[in-house]
Amino acid sequence: MHSSLVRLQQVFGFLTTVSFILASIIALTSYTYPMNPTASIKINDVAVVKRRSGGYYSTRQNEYANVKFDLNADFESLYNWNTKQIFVWISATYGGDRYPTNEAVIWDKIIPAAAPSKKLTLKNIKAKYNIHDITGEYAHRNATLKLSWNVQPHVGVLMWGGVGESITKSFVFPSEKARNAV
């Protein structure tokens, strides 16, 4: 500590150690908060349309599925001092022949910590993403919608979760151009 340069290095070194320990403790506090968000989904409408997939490279005709739904959710319990934002999404899972497991996000939303309300009440909204299957067609497959969330901390471990089985909703993809009210 005899010269300015050495003192500068020492302070910086100790600062790094302290910052590291502080960041670890802050990250650990994230685990002490119980997480129990609630949600419910109601599917209003599923439509399948055939059209050209976007872009210049492809001339393939794909089937696109549009889903309209209601959503009620409360994420208040997920927010603590270490939460930066929450990424919420609704995905549809379905099976198939060539691809036994498929899952596609049809809607997502970011709820930052500064948002005035951590509750969502959405009525009859259209899915953000019109999904198309990798095989190009849907053909009457069973699908299930489920809501999941991802907590993004200010520092620390990212946490994922899904709201329980009881709120998943099953539906059947209708054939092209047919509308199937559930």
């Binding site: 010269s3 340069l5 960041a23 990250a27 872009g55 490279y57 930066k84 934002q85 990424f87 999404w89 995905s91 022949d97 060539r98 691809y99 036994p100 497991t101 498929n102 899952e103 596609a104 996000v105 970011i110 930052p112 993403y129 999904i131 990798i134 999941s148 991802n150 993004q152 901390p153 200010h154 520092v155 620390g156 471990v157 990212l158 994922w160």
Partner: protein, 184 residues
């Protein structure tokens, strides 16, 4: 500084070189061990673009884990497009698990998994970023890990250094100035 050079002692010099080499190789060993534990070629990455804002800003440090072979939709994955060297950090939007062929189900531990990704801050999904004609990325071949933890801002130094070589010269210049002016 100049007086030190005039008292040239080969053994001391060699000892210093070895010491330096020891520090370097220890750091390298720690990095590679972390690579082994996480099964990822690059277990700690710095966010380079703003495509995942507001979640990740440029300069954030991400810790990856590559042993979760059944990547779920909604996980944030880091991947390299074949042929391009810059790693991309985006969220998995869609996943399709193919039925393994008879040969594959005997040799592989997990079936092949295709993912479609999209940055939170991007309006479109990542098909424009993939190689032309590619619509999905392969979990095994192109994904180098899934983000499990993160620390903000710490990596900004590396971005500064790589994008503004001027900063490197300025810092080295100031350090050199200090060393010369010091009366040691």
């Amino acid at each position: 500084m100049l007086s030190a050079l005039s008292a040239y002692q080969p053994r001391q010099l060699l000892a210093q070189v070895l010491n330096f080499g020891l520090i370097l190789s220890t750091a390298f060993m720690m990095w590679k061990s972390l690579s082994l534990v996480t099964n990822s070629p690059s277990p700690i990455v710095v966010v380079l673009s703003g495509s995942m804002e507001p979640a990740f800003q440029r300069g954030d440090l991400l810790f990856l884990w590559n042993r979760g072979v059944d990547t779920q939709v909604g996980e944030i994955v880091v991947f390299n497009i074949q042929g391009k060297s810059i790693p991309i950090v985006h969220r998995a939007l869609r996943k399709h698990v193919s039925r393994p062929s008879a040969k594959q189900s005997k040799s592989r531990a997990y079936p092949p998994l295709k993912l479609l990704t999209k940055g939170d801050n991007n309006a479109q999904d990542d098909v424009v970023l993939y190689t032309p004609g590619q619509h999905y990325i392969d979990r095994e071949k192109e994904v180098i890990g899934s983000v499990k933890a993160y620390v903000p801002f710490v990596g900004y130094v590396t971005i500064l250094l790589s994008e503004h070589p001027m900063v490197k010269t300025v810092v080295l210049g100031i350090m050199g100035l200090f060393v010369i002016l010091q009366r040691e």
